[in-house]
């Protein structure tokens, strides 16, 4: 019943050079099942020997129609799907969506919830960078790094499990605050991690940073200048690797990031090694932010973690038994949700990969009229042809790893 349609050579002619038409260069498919494409990414390569003449990325294998689905769900229901977009930055996706909803309906978030949000997103950033470090090193044949990184990531996922009951798809951050307060062991778990992790970063640096094999494979590979990077819409570590200190946490602070003392690491070369350098430095900055967050958390012990605005946030269970009004609010919110005022907002946050922007439009009903995810992976993948032109296939693997793509993020 499904008719497979052949893509003719004529349709692809404008993507390859004339030499491909005469058979002088070779066309080769890489992926969508290739282990080094970090997911289901297909690249059509035009090769001259082993040198890349042209590279045409083909995405969409992981397209799940999340944007369309969200239009059919109420605001609080749609949030469940945000975790599934960028599956290495689940807390960050929740945060971006919740901040957009909060901006749309003008909802306040109590300070304790803000601090916990920051701690969790920074932990998530470390977890995501660990996956990047592990896979990038694995691609460059440093097998043991992969195992170390996954071991460390597991301790972070344990923290998520202790607060939300889920390792990955947490949906823990909710519009107006959090699902519930953190568990009693949370502070201790994070403190243990803070104590244990710095030594690990030093070990990783010892294994890679001065390793001649690693340097040979990463220096002067996949270079992009600052102007080109901006024109191509680069954000996050990929842009900071080219020397532009652009970080949404600094320029458009959210969740109280302006109260934290941290730096935005940059590197100047714009190659694979620079992007490696930036992410490694970001480990330290994230640890700094978490440490400050724990300090703030001490002062806010016992403070509420959900907004008291009952029009948007359901009342606590204890109130429902005694207050008629609370019962009505509870019933109203779980059957009908809330109506957002007519309008549209765009909220960008700093995900581990770059700028994650949520465009949210409301027509005045209880469901979002349109949700668009501006995802960093989508934008960065687009620049793969420029980054890889003239390099060897083996270097392409390093370049894909260095822009840190997640296909769930780009295909949505």
């Amino acid at each position: 019943m499904v008719q497979l349609q052949e893509v003719t050579f004529d349709e692809l002619k404008h993507l390859v050079s004339d030499r491909a038409l005469t058979g002088e260069t070779m066309l080769l498919n890489m992926g969508p099942q290739h282990p080094s494409t970090h997911g289901v990414l297909r690249l059509m390569l035009e090769l001259d020997g082993e040198t890349i003449v042209n590279c045409v990325p083909d995405i969409g294998f992981l397209h799940t129609g999340v944007e369309k689905n969200m239009e059919a769900k109420r605001y609080e229901q749609a949030e469940v799907m945000t975790d599934r977009l960028d599956y290495l930055n689940t807390i960050g996706n929740n945060l971006a969506y919740c901040l957009a909803v909060e901006k749309l309906v003008e909802l306040d978030v109590p300070p304790r919830a803000q601090v916990i949000r920051v701690i969790l997103t920074e932990l998530q950033r470390i977890a995501s960078h660990l996956i990047w470090l592990g896979t990038q090193s694995l691609d460059l044949a440093a097998m043991s790094m992969f195992l170390y990184c996954f071991r460390e990531r597991e301790t972070i996922l344990d923290i998520f499990e202790s607060v939300s009951g889920q390792r990955m798809m947490t949906t823990y951050i909710r519009p107006g605050g959090l699902w519930r307060d953190v568990s009693g062991e949370f502070v201790q778990l994070v403190q243990d991690f803070l104590e244990y992790f710095p030594k690990r970063i030093e070990q990783y640096e010892g294994l890679l940073t001065k390793n001649p094999l690693f340097i040979d494979r990463t220096k002067s590979i996949g270079v992009i200048s600052a102007e080109d990077a901006i024109a191509r819409g680069f954000t996050g570590p990929s842009l900071r690797g080219s020397g532009v200190a652009y970080d949404n946490r600094k320029v458009r602070p959210y969740s109280g990031y302006e109260e934290y003392d941290f730096e935005v690491p940059t590197a100047t070369e714009g190659d694979v090694f620079s992007r490696y350098r930036v992410r490694m430095d970001e480990f330290w900055q994230s640890l700094r932010i978490i440490e400050q967050g724990l300090e703030k958390l001490k002062e806010l012990d016992g403070a509420p973690v959900r907004s008291s605005n009952r029009k948007f946030v359901p009342p606590p269970r204890s109130e429902i038994g005694t207050s008629m009004e609370a019962l009505i609010h509870h019933f109203k919110l779980w059957t009908d949700g809330y109506n957002a005022p007519k309008g549209y907002v765009y909220f960008p946050v700093e995900s581990p990969r770059g700028e994650l922007g949520v465009y949210l439009e409301s027509d005045g009903s209880n469901k979002p009229y349109r949700v668009h995810w501006r995802t960093p992976s989508f934008v960065h993948l687009q620049a793969l042809p420029i980054l890889s032109k003239g390099h060897l296939i083996a270097d392409l693997v390093a370049i894909i790893g260095s822009v840190d793509i997640v296909l769930g993020d780009s295909d949505r």
Binding site: M1, Q3, L4, Q5, V7, E11, H14, L15, I59, G60, H63, G65, E67, K68, N69, E71, A72, K103, L104, E106, I230, A231, R232, G233, V244, Y246, V251, R252, G343, Y344, V345, Y346, P348, E355, G357, Y359, E361, Y369, R370, H372, R374, F378, V379, L381, Q382, A383, D411, R412
Partner: protein, 170 residues
């Protein structure tokens, strides 16, 4: 409002006679699709909007003119200001010129517009579907495109569903 943003908005409003909308401190200019390239180039060259953050569209079906709003989110790294352009595109033969030459990263975003909304991008260098398969019919993010689901078969509609799915009994 930021001084630089104000001058940029005023200059565009004066030059092109466009309306401005403000919601939650975000400013949007309603522009005509024919002028989009020109306005983008001006904003980039004269007012420092060097980055295209996001490009998407919204479908207001059953409204027909304009049916679509194409939304451009522009950002200036130097001045840290954002400005949104909304191009009003009619429902019949929707088309808009490409802004690829001003912002190269519009390429894939515009392919997504074509794929998801069926808006023809004039002058685009590589207008193919991007997220949906190459042989897909229809444009999924249009409001008149149903959100697909399996209809449950009861005795009253059994025959109707059988008709739609002859392959089930093959």
């Amino acid at each position: 409002m930021n001084k630089k943003l104000e001058t940029a908005i005023q200059a565009i409003r004066k030059g092109y006679d466009v309306d401005k909308l403000t919601f939650r401190g975000e400013h949007s200019l309603l522009v005509s699709p024919a002028k989009v390239v020109e306005i983008c180039r001006q904003l980039r060259d004269n007012f420092g909007f060097n980055m295209l953050s996001s490009l998407t569209a919204v479908d207001y079906w059953p409204a027909s003119d304009p049916r679509f709003h194409v939304v451009y989110q522009l950002y200036s790294i130097e001045d840290n200001i954002t400005l949104r352009l909304r191009a009003l595109v009619p429902g019949e033969n929707p088309e808009i010129p490409t802004i690829e030459e001003v912002y190269p990263n519009a390429n894939w975003h515009e392919r997504e517009l074509w794929d998801m909304f069926g808006i023809q991008i004039n002058g685009h260098s590589d207008l193919r579907r991007i997220l949906m398969p190459a042989d897909w019919e229809g444009h999924p993010l249009r409001k008149d495109y149903p959100l697909g689901y399996e209809e449950v078969q009861f005795s009253f509609n059994a025959e109707e569903i059988d008709k739609k799915k002859p392959y089930v009994k093959e």
